[in-house]
Symmetry: D2
Subunit: 145 residues, 4 copies
Amino acid sequence: MTRPDARAIQDYILKAFPTPDGEPEIVIEEVSASAARLRMPSKSWHLRPGATVSGPTQMALADSAAWCLLMHNLGFSAASSVTSNLNMSFLSRPASVDLIAHAQLLKLGKRLSVSEVRLHSEGHEQPVAHATVTYAVIFAKEGGP
Amino acid sequence: MTRPDARAIQDYILKAFPTPDGEPEIVIEEVSASAARLRMPSKSWHLRPGATVSGPTQMALADSAAWCLLMHNLGFSAASSVTSNLNMSFLSRPASVDLIAHAQLLKLGKRLSVSEVRLHSEGHEQPVAHATVTYAVIFAKEGGP
Amino acid sequence: MTRPDARAIQDYILKAFPTPDGEPEIVIEEVSASAARLRMPSKSWHLRPGATVSGPTQMALADSAAWCLLMHNLGFSAASSVTSNLNMSFLSRPASVDLIAHAQLLKLGKRLSVSEVRLHSEGHEQPVAHATVTYAVIFAKEGGP
Amino acid sequence: MTRPDARAIQDYILKAFPTPDGEPEIVIEEVSASAARLRMPSKSWHLRPGATVSGPTQMALADSAAWCLLMHNLGFSAASSVTSNLNMSFLSRPASVDLIAHAQLLKLGKRLSVSEVRLHSEGHEQPVAHATVTYAVIFAKEGGP
């Protein structure tokens, strides 16, 4: 299997969940066997009341980062893997800029994959949130979609 | 202080986050000192690809349920309290019906409040998700908004 | 398969981890398909400095309660199942009395089992801790020990 | 305030919880404002059945590492701070060697402190467990012990 790179994973998501303008809501900047970096542009959420990133949005970004690591390591036949646990600590209020996620793979098992994800506002060093994301690994049956 | 009831909390949310049609995305059905029941109507998410409730949407519902318990117990002067931790286990795929949240207050401290929340699809007994939600209690300064 | 009852599970543990006086450190009081109640007698920890139950001891009790539910439902061929995640919120300081655990099974899957556990000091209503415990279900190979 | 160093924190623990032979069960190897490294010698648990480190023991080590970071940053007047949440993912079975904890401070707030802790068996690169530990910061009243 060739490991899907950042662009291939990005294309896969956009095909599954098309956006009105064809621009991704979350940008996959880098992915390797052990780490990934994703960016959520501030325009995705900037105009909301409060002008900050909601908790669920932060959780969605952390979850996406963990899923990217899984795709890179296992390929799209594992695309239907599901999050079994997400634990998130909210540390400080995000600034009104892009939100960056750094994910690290802690374990890639046959049944469970565990990643650690830190979120920080671009240009700020202190993390705004920290997540541990566990995926139940599910492979599509052969000859499947 | 009079404890805000379900309707008062609902109105407070709709005023802060108006919806296009004036209908709430999440309906607060009941709230008492120790428990709350909320409902997310399926129309809120029914037309999405997959026709199921995403993980972040489930987390948003659990978070709202915990916040309602806090408002009922402490009043709106604690409205700016923030989630400090949310741990969610995803148990099974929600059905294409309304999603119900049952929240129970585990602790109401001066600084931290902890609630347990179970989500289940209407008409189904098995929970689809279970969350523990911790809030850092923050009171607005007197004379504040 | 006959479901092992509280006594059978208790005997199994004592055989695997004998105690000096033959008395169990943790007493399994009741177990059903959906719930279990365990007791940690205060004599097990009463003489320590501080005369309270340490965090790790509370975690051990919660973990045992989740394991009992698994044994009752799946039998001892699943005895080598391992905890994959334990999330615990410490709510208040336990009193110097027996510690009681009430566990509820949230999910019994082929690969993962999730239980919720509340701990409270005997005679006190408020919980001292709340845990969510996830087990990776592992069956011994046939003809195994 | 002078920040207590590794030796000072070690002495503080041994005075509060003396061991039979005066040797610490957990060795604090390094502590700085942002990170700490602790070691649990295998002799502490080597003779148990199974010859591996139990889950609660791993949780105790992670908790100690987070507490050390707090002591270094805030001094012993914060010694009565309490763990409010501990979330631990168990990744693989520890080997029969010393267990090492690397802790990183994610947040040091006035009320809450959050640390991330990875455990690995000495000489092994892959982590055996990952924890997020939240402390409620509590300062002793002035003139107190």
